[in-house]
Symmetry: C2
Subunit: 301 residues, 2 copies
């Protein structure tokens, strides 16, 4: 499918793209640019054929596809260097969790307008680093690809084909919709998880009581989400701040209503909220977005 | 250990006590009082030796141990009937998720003061009903037992032994501490999950977009918690309303601070919150309150 692929940043996502690309023989040669020595030494063990770039230089002009999978806060610097060397025949995509900022980045770098097709594979977890990478990480997961009139149709198709080869289900979206939707389905859950754990820490300090050991009643699920990579999530919260703040406001409004319903023992309204949630869970399982085993099957381990 | 046990209410928890009691030969005879025909016909299939009471009557005086495992909102009625027939040699315990209300219930029924030792096994999930019961549901899980000067020491020991037989790790607490602690580790996470799912439903309605299918980025975990039984959780929110409302207030305060930090891109404060959560996750895993597999091992299924 390609002659030369370059993966920039080889953590959980980058190394999973690397593994999947090797497995599906997506490219003749695969290059990696990775700053961390620890990650690099790990990636070297994955396959002997992997080639490494020590810097972003003229070799970049040979690449058919460049995939950005560093933290978002590094994109600006990388893109500045890339556009010095990149050929107009190359293709770039990324894996960032917010997309309006990526669109703006493309706007600022004219050379990229036709060749950069942003994408977002919905496949993360609380762990990070290439040691957790997996060739099937994207299998049957959604991958959002941005569509815009100014993007090359041909290149959009090539990026779609790339993700499908890795096993993703692809879907097209514009950046505004994307950032709104994921502020609700992903960014809000994560910041809630972080703040719930903070609330538990605050309680422990104030009451001098170890409550973490009773986390099986609910807190433990949130603690998994709240163990996600801090640099990645800081970058997401900062780059999607308008939508995220708006989501927090809607959520706080719901919490305040709920508080009122509890106070007045408003049976009807409370039961309505609780019952409707159950329907959503059923949809999520029917859509194969989660497994149906009680307690995520944890008790079976 | 006992001659006659009566389990009042045979859903997920009651039927797990039933199964565990049969498995560990805790009692010569096991009686069940269950109003739902559907549940009863299921429970009949578990073991032929199970006996059924059709009503709370004089037979109750033969019971050595009575375990209440109905919804909390039914306790009042049941206890009223029980105390008519119960012998002072009997022992009662319960499985309710809040404990100050149970203590008040005991206060109102003098006959129960020495013989009712409240307990709370920390072992639930999003499913309910006897079909999901499991003889090992309590294995290696905490069971909180209430301790109070007015309770009989001997009876406390007997209840402790009972839960240990079922595999629980037992710990003593007073009702005030219990209800405060679980408002943070359990009740707050559940109501947050319900309200997050509600926020997603609100968004779908307003924007006429199906966002549930993108729930893999975080929402799906919360939807599991938010699929928990609505009657059970309404009862919990109502009976622990002071602590729950207080927890919501602390949590909203944290959310408002977080919002400010995002708005001002306060790198230091955001990273501190995000990093501290990771430490709590590690503690939870070290304390064996959760499995360490990324994504709860869901990708392995």
């Amino acid at each position: 499918m390609f002659k030369n692929i370059l993966i920039v940043g080889c953590g959980l996502i980058g190394s999973s793209i690397l593994r999947g690309s090797i497995n599906k023989k997506i490219s003749k040669n695969i290059y990696v640019f990775e700053k961390s020595k620890k990650n690099t030494s790990f990636v070297k063990k994955i396959d002997k054929k992997i080639k490494f770039l020590n810097r972003i230089d003229h070799k970049v002009s040979d690449m058919d596809l460049i995939v950005l999978s560093t933290h978002m806060s590094q994109y600006n610097n990388i893109v500045k260097k890339l556009q010095r060397y990149i050929s107009s025949k190359s293709l770039i995509t990324d894996t960032a969790s917010t997309k309006r900022n990526i669109e703006n980045l493309i706007k600022r770098n004219k050379k990229l307008k036709k060749i950069f097709i942003p994408s977002h594979p919905i496949a993360g977890s609380e762990v990070s680093g290439p040691e957790f990478g997996n060739k099937d990480l994207f299998k049957d997961k959604w991958c959002i690809i941005l569509k815009k009139d100014s993007y090359s149709r041909k290149n959009i198709k090539r990026i779609e084909k790339f993700w499908k080869k890795l096993g993703s289900k692809t879907i097209f979206m514009n950046a505004i919709d994307h950032d709104k939707i994921f502020s609700i389905t992903s960014h809000l859950p994560h910041l809630i998880a972080y703040n719930l754990v903070k609330t538990a820490i605050d309680f422990q300090k104030k009451n001098k009581q170890n409550i973490i050991k009773y986390s099986a009643g609910g807190l433990r699920d949130f603690s998994r989400t709240a163990a996600s990579n801090e640099i990645m999530w800081r970058d997401i919260f900062f780059s999607n701040k308008d939508n995220v703040i708006n989501s927090i406001n809607i959520f706080i409004k719901n919490l305040n209503n709920f508080k009122k319903f509890i106070k007045n023992e408003n049976n009807k309204n409370i039961l309505k909220i609780l019952k409707n949630s159950k329907k959503v869970r059923k949809q999520i399982i029917d859509l194969k977005q989660d497994i149906s085993k009680p307690n995520f099957g944890r008790d079976l381990f």
